[in-house]
């Protein structure tokens, strides 16, 4: 169920360019994706902040403790140096001159640092007896800033420290690691004040800090992944039943009335499932009931029509028999036979229309498709209606710019539609000329019948396809229509995948247009014939 949103974008990850779109899609479609993403983002921010704080304070602590250590170490070294200097007999200038090296020895014994600088404090008069400055253990004079040197020079009892970047080795000055230089004053007998600088390498502290930060980062990522996974699972528990319910209602809506949600457990989803199933049961019951009723009614209509056929056959045979012999009757009886004959025929038409519409209602109509030309069918129908048209003083004009090619259709039904449309046009055309237009395009063939008779009002147009509906009940009927003609025609068009449209305006006439798809089941992009007066009038 949860894979639904993912399945849609099965291969989106192969095309990085589509990632943003895929993410937006997943965001709007999947509650699960949204929830996991929000949770991961928020917890990620929290973990990031925590990690930064921890990293900062651990780094601070580490630095501070290493600094303290360095200061202690330097202090010890300075005191030992000073005390050993104080103990020196300074009467001999050579000894004094060698004190510089003596300091180095003491420092190396007392301190862990091998980096040292020994220099004469500034501001003292030059003295050839004084020991010379030197550096040792990779210390460089440039590392000692003037500020540090001045600070050390100002007070004698205090240790001063300064962070520096120590070069890793002499060859590559760009690579450095952190360090601290601690400076102090020492007093040499007779030679004056000197400054002692000791350098301490803090790279081990940096490594520790790096390790801590790496660990924090890994732990953070693992934690975010875990939170994401947990959210995914939890949301899945919640979303899965909802998705199941959604899928089930979709199937129910699609007509699968048997489908139900499984009712397991006692939780809130079971309640949902129970009420959903109850709704589905009730729907199914009502639909089945309605279907049965409708079936019963359709069968009734069909049965009645069939049952009527046998007596109607007898009546028809009898009326024909009488009609054929009406010359032998007196005038009244002869007229009676004529009326009987005409009305039996009308009754016959009505019955077959009724049967046809009941067949459509029952959905038991099957098409017998054969290639046929709409123009040819129109010509046949026009020929058939020519006498009636002449009797009404109407002229039938065929305008066929297209539609000659053969298209699969049930010719019997299409012929029936055309006959019906032309018959109606003659009946309502008031003797004005009637255009029968046939045309085709890439997707459809169409036939329009345009009369210039009395037309219909807009509300009438909405009813023309209703069964047994008559535009003007008071009007005398010249052609014995059954009132089912257009309803059947519309069904005939629909079962072909086509349609009949109508345009009409009072006083201007009507235009009925039949449009059929060129291919069976194919779509109709547009009807080849425009519906309306302006275009048809011009032809």
């Amino acid at each position: 169920m949860t894979s639904a949103a993912l399945r849609v974008d099965a291969a989106w990850w192969r095309r990085p360019a589509e990632w943003p779109a895929a993410i937006v899609r997943a965001w709007s479609r999947s509650l699960q994706f949204r929830t996991v993403l929000i949770t991961v983002c928020l917890s990620g921010v929290a973990i990031l902040v925590t990690g930064l704080v921890i990293s900062y304070s651990v780094g601070n602590d580490l630095y501070q403790s290493r600094l303290d250590q360095a200061l202690r170490d330097a202090d010890r070294a300075q005191q030992q140096v000073q005390s050993s200097l104080d103990a020196t007999d300074a009467s001999d200038p050579a000894t004094v001159l060698g004190l510089g090296q003596a300091v180095k020895t003491v420092v190396q014994g007392a301190s862990s640092s091998r980096m040292m600088a020994f220099s004469r404090a500034p501001g003292q008069p030059a003295d050839p007896q004084a020991p010379t400055d030197y550096t040792a253990g990779g210390m460089r004079p440039s590392l000692i800033s003037p500020q540090l040197s001045q600070a050390v020079a100002k007070s004698s009892g205090t240790l001063y420290s300064q962070s520096v970047a120590l070069p890793v080795d002499a060859d590559s000055p760009s690579r450095t690691h952190p360090g601290v230089i601690v400076g102090s004053q020492i007093h040499l007998p007779t030679a004056g004040t000197y400054q002692l600088f000791l350098g301490y390498d803090l790279s081990d502290a940096e490594q520790t800090l790096n390790f801590v930060q790496r660990t924090l980062l890994l732990a953070g990522i693992a934690l975010i992944a875990l939170i994401g996974a947990v959210t995914f699972v939890v949301v899945r528990f919640v979303v899965a039943p909802i998705q199941l319910a959604a899928a089930t209602s979709r199937r129910l809506a699609a007509g699968d009335l048997e489908v139900r949600i499984p009712e397991t457990g006692e939780d809130v989803f079971t309640t949902l499932a129970r009420s959903f199933n109850a709704m589905a049961d009730s729907l199914q019951r009502q639909i089945t009931q309605l279907a049965t009723l409708s079936q019963l009614q359709q069968r009734f209509v069909s049965d009645v029509s069939h049952e009527l056929r046998t007596p109607l056959t007898t009546i028809r045979l009898a009326s024909e028999h009488l009609h054929d012999r009406k010359g032998a009757f007196d005038e009244t009886t002869s007229r009676t036979a004529e009326l009987l004959h005409a009305q039996v025929e009308r009754f016959d038409l009505l019955l077959s229309d009724l049967l046809e519409i009941s067949r459509y209602d029952a959905g038991s109509v099957s098409l017998e498709l054969e290639p046929a030309s709409l123009v040819r069918l129109a010509e046949d129908a026009i020929e058939e209606f020519e006498p009636l048209a002449r009797a009404n003083g109407t002229e039938l004009q065929l305008v066929a710019p297209g539609g000659y090619s053969e298209v699969p259709m049930d010719a019997r039904r299409v012929r029936r539609v055309i006959r019906n449309l032309i018959g109606n046009a003659i009946e309502h055309g008031e003797g004005e000329p009637i255009d029968i237009i046939v045309d085709s395009n890439a997707t459809a063939v169409a036939l329009a019948v345009r009369d210039r008779g009395m037309g219909m009002s807009e509300s009438d147009v909405g009813h023309v396809f209703d069964r047994f509906w008559r535009a003007d009940p008071s009007r005398r009927r010249t052609i014995g229509g059954t009132g089912l003609g257009l309803a059947i025609s519309q069904e005939d068009a629909l079962i072909h995948g086509g349609v009949i449209d109508v345009w009409s305006r009072p006083g201007e006439g009507s235009c009925f247009r039949l449009t059929l798809p060129r291919r069976r089941g194919g779509p109709i992009a547009e009807s080849p014939i425009p519906l309306g007066p302006a275009e048809t009038e011009g032809s």
Binding site: H306, L312, T314, L317, E320, D324, D348
Partner: protein, 225 residues
């Protein structure tokens, strides 16, 4: 000698009215109102043609048609209140030569009856026609494969003969309807389909792979050589 027609219909009013129409056209109608007795009535009257209602008490029209067909090739025209495909095809497959949907008019009825009673129009062509490994003896109304006689109804005989007389010609279903059934207007081409099936079942070695009555796709049928 008048032509005798057996009318099998349970609706006595309709049967009587059909009788009046037939009698006024010079036929001699006999009646039967029950499906179960129809076959006996057929044997007694030995009619030249049967008008058979599809829905009958006792035995339905389809079964009656099958039983009559089992022993005789007498033309049968079904009368049916249903024009639905399944019933019509079932009726034709059971052996009926033609059908009429109620309500029909008397002229149509008489025209169909006459068409079925009309002697085979192809008789004049020649005495004997060869089609595949079949020999059609026109005068004796017989079809033989070697020495074996194949029983065909008059309609099936006419159908085979019409095709065999012009082996080079492809017949559309409409042409066959006109030539064999005597329809002069567009009628139900299922008549042709069903009867071609029945004919093939009798004359072909393998009805699924026909050699004598061949289908020409999209056009119609032709006799094989």
């Amino acid at each position: 000698m008048t032509t005798r027609i057996l009318v099998v219909d349970d609706d006595t009013a309709l049967a009587e009215m059909i009788g009046i129409v037939l009698r006024s056209e010079g036929f001699d109608p006999v009646f039967c109102a029950d499906g179960a007795q129809a076959v006996d009535a057929f044997r007694q009257a030995s009619p030249d043609l049967v008008l058979l209602d599809l829905m009958l008490p006792g035995l339905d029209g389809i079964e009656v048609a099958e039983r009559i067909r089992a022993s005789s090739g007498t033309p049968i025209i079904m009368l049916t209140a249903k024009s639905d495909t399944a019933d019509v095809v079932r009726g034709l497959e059971s052996g009926a030569d033609d059908y009429m949907v109620k309500p029909f008019n008397p002229k149509e009825l008489v025209a169909r009856v006459r068409a079925r009673l009309r002697p085979s129009s192809a008789g004049a062509a020649s005495q004997s026609v060869q089609v595949g490994d079949l020999t059609i003896d026109v005068a004796a109304h017989e079809v033989r494969r070697g020495d074996t006689r194949i029983n065909l109804t008059p309609l099936e005989f006419d159908l085979l003969l019409a095709l065999a007389n012009k082996p080079q010609q492809v017949f559309t279903r409409e042409m066959l309807l006109e030539q064999v059934w005597g329809y002069h207007y567009k009628a139900d081409t299922r008549l042709v389909n069903v009867h071609v099936q029945r004919l093939r079942a009798k004359v072909e070695h393998d009805p699924d792979n026909p050699r004598i009555v061949q289908t020409v796709r999209g056009v119609g049928y032709r006799a094989g050589t």
